[in-house]
């Protein structure tokens, strides 16, 4: 459960400020009067404005509360610079949603200007912006799911062999293993079972080993990268063994780059387990006689490997 929470957190809490903020921020100069600010707030239906100097640097903030006080105190026609809040809490463009939430928790203000490295105003964030950004992100998750469904239902993507082009009767596979877990500590169970299965079918131990190693890497990739479940299918033929590992997850943006030795996008916790060194595809290539990888972003990855058996017995 904790792991799932971690994943969800990273999905949302790492959202950059620029994705949350409203860039169309309305600001005023310090020499305007509070009455002018009152009109801006009324017309634009907002509850506060940052005050910026001629270089757009944030020098203060005026909220509706300041306006009420000015009306009560009879100084509504005085200048903003004399009554604005000068100590402004700002968010930086490099902050994330996590920082935003913490800032809202720490201070009771309704809005926080967003500034660049030179303290120049680039946007503003209210709780409403946070809510809208989260909803937009959720919509994206939903869209991702819908697209996945589309591809899943397309017969050409998942039902045809990448290597031979023949349509694939997966129900006729000699070995099937669902990768239905997300725990990296379990990665390799399928490959291990496949090796046992091949040995029980009288496959040469060296061939079984090659198949198991390549499958292990493919299975680990599903667990680490796909963010979804997957499956291992194996067909044992007299002259060759054919393995297909597929998932319906995030997909690979650039398959060519992913196949490069040493290229890795694995997170640290995966590296701590001894994986994620960018050797996966290299190992698969080395162990198999034929390797095909096809992926669409948002639609999963299909890895197919062929292992010839003609070298069996004459080591």
């Amino acid at each position: 459960m904790e792991k799932v929470l971690d994943r969800v957190q990273s999905f949302f809490l790492d959202m950059p400020v620029v994705e949350v903020m409203n860039p169309n921020v309305i600001s005023v100069h310090p020499d305007r009067t509070l009455r002018q600010v009152k009109e801006i707030l009324r017309i634009k239906r907002i509850s506060g404005v940052p005050v910026v100097d001629s270089e757009r640097k944030v020098v203060g903030i005026v909220s509706i509360e300041d306006i009420i006080k000015a009306l009560e105190g009879g100084y509504i026609d005085e200048k903003v610079q004399d009554h604005m809040t000068k100590k402004v809490v700002c968010l930086k463009v490099t902050d994330t949603l996590k920082d935003i939430i913490e800032t809202f928790e720490r201070y009771s203000y309704g809005r926080f200007p967003v500034v660049d490295e030179n303290n120049r105003l680039v946007g503003i964030i209210t709780k409403n912006d946070v809510m809208m950004a989260l909803l937009a992100r959720l919509g994206l998750v939903y869209l991702h799911d819908e697209r996945r469904k589309e591809v899943l239902e397309s017969p050409d993507y998942f039902e045809r062999s990448l290597i031979t082009g023949e349509s694939l009767d997966k129900s006729g596979a000699d070995f099937f293993f669902p990768i239905d877990y997300y725990d990296i500590n379990l990665a390799g169970i399928g490959a291990s079972k496949l090796r046992q299965f091949l040995l029980s079918r009288g496959v040469d131990p060296e061939t079984a080993r090659r198949v198991a190693i390549a499958t292990y890497e493919a299975e680990t990739n599903v667990v680490i990268h796909s963010g979804s479940t997957g499956a291992i299918y194996c067909f044992v033929k007299p002259d060759r063994i054919f393995v297909r590992v597929e998932d319906t997850g995030k997909g690979i943006d650039n398959v060519e780059l992913a196949m490069k030795e040493g290229y890795s996008t694995a997170p640290d916790y995966v590296r701590e387990l001894g994986f994620g060194a960018g050797m996966g595809f290299t190992n698969m290539k080395r162990c198999s006689d034929n390797l095909m990888v096809v992926s669409k972003v948002g639609a999963g990855v299909v890895v197919e490997m062929e292992f010839r058996r003609d070298r069996e017995g004459n080591k």
Binding site: G188, A191, R209, A212, I213, L273, A277, M279, T282, N283
Partner: protein
Amino acid sequence: MKLTEILSELRAKVVANAQKVDQLEFERAAASDLMSEVLAIAKPDAILITGLCTPQVIRTADVVGIPAVVIVRRENVPAETIEMAESSGIVLAVTRMSMFEACGRLYAKGIRPIWEV
């Protein structure tokens, strides 16, 4: 070299499949903390020396066909790793010795690398 000799040289304590120790002998060793590397280069007749102690180590050894694993620089091994070693029939031992010293001692005793250049 007999596994019993290897383990005494490394001052290692056997934590799984102790009954198999007498039956095994090794000429070669692989030492790595990178499981993908083990998958890439290891041979079935080698002993694996590693600093990792997750169940993944055992699964990797199982897939490659490595019959014995020594975990270095530790007192204890997580129970799930031991359980997995037991069920996969892999001898698992642990030593407080560092990877460097463990490898150096075995090399001096004539154990060869799995990959000689």
